[in-house]
Symmetry: C2
Subunit: 209 residues, 2 copies
Amino acid sequence: MDFKEVITQRRAVNFFDTEKDVSESLLREAIELAAKTPSGFNLQPWSLIILKDKEEKMKLQKLAWNQPKISEAPATLILLADRQGWKAGHPFVERNFNEMVNAGAMKPEQHQWFADTCAALYGSSEDKQQAFACKNAGFFAMSLMLAAKSLGLDTHPMDGFDHEGVRKAFRVPENYWIPLLMAVGYFRKGAELSPPKWRKSFDEIVVKF
Amino acid sequence: MDFKEVITQRRAVNFFDTEKDVSESLLREAIELAAKTPSGFNLQPWSLIILKDKEEKMKLQKLAWNQPKISEAPATLILLADRQGWKAGHPFVERNFNEMVNAGAMKPEQHQWFADTCAALYGSSEDKQQAFACKNAGFFAMSLMLAAKSLGLDTHPMDGFDHEGVRKAFRVPENYWIPLLMAVGYFRKGAELSPPKWRKSFDEIVVKF
């Protein structure tokens, strides 16, 4: 599917077809495409909890303004952003360093430099940790919404939920922030899709001080 | 250009063709495509400073580990994420509310509810403000990298810079966080593009607790 069509036709849909499941293989394909997303120092501080079970989705729905799409969509995802995903000793940080060494992009003796630099850029304040986690998870979520659309799937990103309630109910460890939930499925035929919302123009986006 | 090609061929390129400018119209087209990015409550808390002038780019480069790509790329962008972009009275927040009223998606008497809800979700802690700003700006930046690629442009997102130094040098107001810089241009022919970096697999991304 053409990129312009994908980015233009992606819409946050409120109504999902409850009769149409998302196959494991299609959801995997969307996630594998989104896995190509870049990240700061390639640290990829994102994870997903996938809910397909009706009871699990209802548990989430009750913590999210009781939005019906959470249980109506065949799959609802809880996106996680790892605020500690820059720290020396973290399995994916070390994996990343080793992969860079294997690829010849880094020398083993640069480990301390790598650890110190990640800590300075991403770990030296609460603000930096949160920016690191949420920006990169935002990259990933955006890729995933577009990848899903390119495969014929519809999505709906949601912010309206009880952050600490969801953390507790799904036993999400403290190192993660939960930037959004995302319903994934197929738009329900016959339901009404509202017209595209307004967007800032080029001249409203570009600033100078 | 096909979406799969775009997401697969997008690479952070280190070397830009210094002889090949990016036309105003092409950069505008990329930004206008990225403007279709969704955001929490459609608040679109993102802005861009575009640097094309060599001196301005050099000023930025000196604050960003002296990375040559900053001045070699024909355009380098400073992405801004508005941490106050949820607040009642903010021009784009009110614009957004009015647009929703005009579209029939909201009633004028819901203004207080809208203001309170945005404040609760996005403004009630430093963490929430930062998550709101950086996640949504992350969505926008990812769309922009892909939109640029779909138009034949290459990009390089950068975190290696002195955040407060850049703020000061470019007079960025306190309400903005600077999540990343982005070089935009054309890959320099003959330069070496390293092989794609490793990425987490589906089974490494999907978690359960």
